[in-house]
Symmetry: C2
Subunit: 208 residues, 2 copies
């Protein structure tokens, strides 16, 4: 399928059938997300992969008991760094120097531009980092569709409670979105037969 | 190419060769972005498609004279709604009712959940809407790679000045990212030969 066909095939399944996704498909979806670009390549977010049925049951009430939580095969939780520190920047720069086999000092330009970020308001940085996570979310949605795996992006959950349950605060993370991966329940999903609604091209794009 | 191959093929080209992208490729990239999901399907952002060379020249100093601005074939500017109003929600609900040929009142649940958004702080909503635009950005990056078109996401520009130049404020929009579309300059791009650096899987993913 082309990407257009895949995106037309997909929809945000409201009911899933509990079937497990083969591990090699999960691996390819995760690898696509890992390869997604981010500002300065920093990847200031992490992806929690929740497969444990007991944990999914505990997440359910935190996410308004939406059935995909427990009917999914895996939940991917996109969680951004709560803040950015000089330590993390230094770690990133030294990792890049290692990976590219270059002197750390050759990356001073990138390092200094990232150091400038440290002077910005913490909230602006948090919002900037959360946006980077959504690039990965977009890539993950396409990757799933190309594997003919259903993927339902969800923001309707209590982020604070989820962060508590998954101990995200102590990892310096804050959850923003869940991507439920699984297979549509063709019998019980009310959304399956409804037309996809999108803003018409002539309104969505503005040409210059 | 698989999505993994496409994502490994791509990188953020720092120099482009000025070659035009065939219109049918641009059309498919834009269609993929338009089909990208967003929270509640609202699509609270627009994509500016800049092809005019004169306008790109004016954008160049606003974007630190990064060469891709003028060497690209098209610039896509991802601009989110500055705020959300009841009028926009009503317009969306009535458009959805039309498209799905259902009574407007049958969508009261969705409408009321969107009305709740109106009670949240304006800044929280603005950040929420800007994240939705980044789902489209992620989808656009994959779509371009699958067309073997280079796509460089850029945040290094003065958003206020760009908004002024493109009259975005009067359209209720605020720019967040530029995606420069074109073809890598294989001779002059210093980044082309460098290894892609990504956080290792065992660090990027946390399993539960």
């Amino acid at each position: 399928m082309s990407i257009i066909d895949s995106l037309n095939w997909r929809y945000a399944a409201k009911r899933m059938n509990g079937k497990k996704i083969p591990q090699e498909k999960i691996d390819r979806i995760l690898e696509a997300i890992r390869l997604a670009p981010t500002s300065a390549g920093l990847q200031p977010y992490r992806v929690l992969v929740v497969e444990d049925p007991e944990l999914k049951k505990q997440i359910s009430p935190i996410a308004n008991n939406q059935p995909q939580i427990t009917e999914s095969s895996q939940l991917l939780v996109f969680a951004a760094w709560e803040k950015i520190t000089q330590e993390e920047i230094d770690h990133y720069i030294s990792y890049m120097a290692d990976e590219r086999d270059v002197a750390v000092t050759s990356l001073d330009g990138l390092k200094n531009s990232l150091y400038n970020v440290l002077n910005r308001p913490a909230e602006l940085n948090a919002n900037w980092m959360s946006r980077q996570a959504y690039i990965g979310l977009g890539v993950g949605i396409v990757a799933a569709a190309e594997e003919e795996v259903d993927a339902t992006p969800m923001e309707g959950f209590n982020a604070e409670e989820l962060d508590k349950l998954l101990n995200l605060k102590e990892k310096g993370l804050k959850s923003f979105a869940i991507l439920a991966l699984g297979y549509r329940d063709t019998t019980n999903d009310w959304l399956i037969k409804l037309k996809k609604v999108r803003v018409p091209s002539e309104e969505f794009f503005i040409n210059y």
